[in-house]
């Protein structure tokens, strides 16, 4: 149509005329033109013919049920109708929130395994308590009964025995109070009564876990005991657990257990006793025999009259006997120590974890759950705040750029369609 109407009026102006649009002057001009222009007359006829054809699509009358509304109430209008920009902002905020929550969870999972293992060896523990003797030897060693062999001339014998001799020398200064606790020595204990090795297993759930460690230290100090091993494991976000092996004088065991039980709720309490008196008697007898043999061999060497090969054979036998003496002596020392100091396997859990692993009263479980829930909320808020501070500006900037691009595309499409 456009090719046929390069003259004035244009086809669009003719269409305007047919639709009753345009200024009166323009309409008058087109009307005058139409009288002499068959092409424009055809165009007008086409336009009017189209309108007639479109009029063929009629619809049925409105249903009777369509009545005038009584009031404006039927339409439930929202109290707030956000604009597109507000919606876009809310969407961006939601994305930030979701990404933040996701990141927070990821960050908490990806943190280095901060399983904080505080483990103290017996020596470190002793140094911390300031009870180390010469050379940092544990108190139980000082308290152990003095072996009879320490006064033997063996301390000046061949170098193979020097280290052991040094150890024996260190045993020559028993601690008075330990001596008092254990009587006059293992021999006396063996001779006059049972020698009992005591062990105890104690598991607690503590409400105030922070003060538990200090309380354990105080108990150990006051009972002249020590920690053979003591550690606190604490994973972020979970409950802490203190595990340790405590050594306390056997006579103090009952009192120490009583005081430890007061630190929390007992979930396991078990004690064992093993009488080793016979074993100690046997060890003493074997030691005496070995030392007598040693003495006889020494006498033979002093009064040697035989061949060199015989001398060498006696020396070899002397060495073997001394090794036996050392082994038996160590075995006896160890057993004596175990008799003198009872062993306590201690486990103290923080109350929060205990709710999961052990039966606790309902009230305690509710309190634990509430505490955990509050902690989770705090962790989430802190994590979210950290994420917003770190990534928020970038995400918001990206969202803003996206909104601008969206608006630009919309406008471009609208112009294109026009």
């Amino acid at each position: 149509m456009a090719a046929e109407h390069l003259h004035s009026p244009t086809p669009e102006e003719v269409m305007e005329f047919v639709d009753g649009e345009g200024t009166p002057a323009a309409r008058a001009g087109i009307e005058a033109h139409l009288a002499a222009c068959p092409a424009c007359q055809t165009l007008v006829a086409e336009q009017r013919g189209l309108s007639r054809e479109l009029g063929a699509w009629q619809v049925a009358p409105a249903p009777e049920s369509l009545k005038a509304p009584a009031n404006a109430a039927p339409v439930a209008r929202p109290w707030w109708r956000p604009t597109r920009f507000v919606l876009a902002g809310l969407s961006a905020g939601t994305v930030v929130l979701l990404v933040g929550l996701f990141q927070t969870r990821q960050m908490s999972r990806s943190l280095p395994v901060a399983s904080r293992q505080v483990s103290l060896s017996a020596q470190e523990e002793e140094e911390r308590l300031g009870r180390g003797g010469a050379g940092g030897r544990p108190a139980f060693v000082e308290a152990a009964p003095r072996p009879e062999t320490v006064s033997q001339p063996a301390v000046s014998e061949p170098s193979s025995l020097d280290s052991r001799a040094g150890f024996a020398a260190s045993l020559s200064t028993p601690k008075p109070e330990a001596q008092e606790q254990t009587g006059s020595g293992s021999t006396a204990a063996v001779a006059h009564g049972p020698a009992v090795i005591r062990t105890a297993t104690l598991q607690l759930v503590a409400k105030d876990f922070n003060s538990v460690r200090t309380a354990v230290d105080v108990i150990l100090d006051s009972s002249a005991g020590f920690a053979d091993q003591l550690g606190v494991s604490a994973d972020p976000g979970s409950a802490r657990v203190l595990r340790g092996t405590l050594r306390v004088p056997g006579t103090q065991l009952t009192g120490v257990l009583t005081r430890l039980r007061a630190l929390g709720q007992v979930t396991q309490d078990q004690q064992n006793a093993q009488d080793v008196a016979d074993q100690l008697v046997d060890l003493d007898a074997r030691l005496r025999s070995a030392r007598a043999t040693e003495q006889r061999l020494i006498d033979l060497l002093k009064n040697r009259t035989g061949k060199l090969s015989d001398v060498l054979e006696v020396e070899q036998e002397l060495t073997r006997v001394r090794l036996d003496i050392e082994r038996l002596d160590a075995e006896k020392t160890n057993m004596t120590r175990r008799v003198a100091y009872a062993t306590i396997d201690l486990t103290i859990s923080e109350e929060r974890q205990a709710a999961i692993v052990g039966p606790l009263p309902l009230l305690t479980q509710l309190r634990v759950a509430a505490k955990d829930g509050l902690q989770n909320v705090i962790d989430m808020v802190v994590g979210l705040a950290l994420f917003v501070l770190r990534a928020g500006p970038t995400v918001m900037l990206s969202a803003f750029a996206g909104i601008l691009a969206w608006i630009a595309i919309r406008r471009a499409l609208r112009v294109h369609s026009a």
Binding site: E12, E16, E46, A62, P63, L66, P69, V75, R77, A418
Partner: protein, 181 residues
């Protein structure tokens, strides 16, 4: 005869009678507006009802800047767009699958017209229908669609040319409408 503008002014002042008069005048045009654009008759009735409710609700904010007719169809058009946005998540039927309303003079011609309209671009079809069926002026269409007047004129001319071509072919080609702008 009382003009539409006088009636809406009375509605603004709280006249129920004036509103009912306006409703009687525009009940059928508004119904037809939605019926031609909505495959479901019940939905068309709901939308027509919503339109009059919106008129009643917004009467106090009517500023008398244009004709009431353009104001009314502007509301109807917005109601329609809102429904189409929601309909994105609903199944959309081809416009020509809806049976022709019984009782019309020439059902075949109506079917051809509907097929031809369905072949037009959405915006072109909407402008053409506003002009032909609602008898709105170019300026009123421009206000309703928030589009420059010259753009409306160009789109309308293009729509008519496309419609003429489609009608000349007389081959119905079902086209699925998206019911979106």
């Amino acid at each position: 005869m009382v003009t539409d503008e006088d009636l809406i002014a009375d509605v603004k002042a709280g006249s129920r009678t004036a509103f009912e008069t306006l409703f009687d005048r525009y009940r059928e045009p508004v119904w037809r507006f939605f019926r031609r654009r909505t495959p479901d008759a019940a939905r068309a009735e709901e939308l027509a009802q919503d339109t009059f409710v919106a008129v009643l609700d917004g009467a106090k904010r009517y500023d008398n800047r244009g004709t009431f007719r353009s104001y009314l169809f502007g509301i109807a058009y917005n109601v329609l767009l809102a429904d189409r946005r929601k309909a994105v998540f609903r199944q959309t039927l081809p416009i020509e699958t809806e049976p022709i309303d019984p009782g019309i003079a020439d059902p075949d011609a109506a079917i051809w017209v509907r097929h031809a309209l369905a072949t037009l671009e959405e915006d072109d079809r909407e402008i053409l229908m506003l002009r032909e069926y609602e008898q709105l002026s170019y300026r009123e269409i421009a206000e309703i669609r928030q589009t420059p007047l010259n753009t409306i004129r160009s789109q309308l001319f293009r729509a008519r040319a496309a419609l003429k071509a489609a009608l000349d072919e007389r081959i119905p080609q079902p086209v699925r409408t998206s019911h979106g702008r």
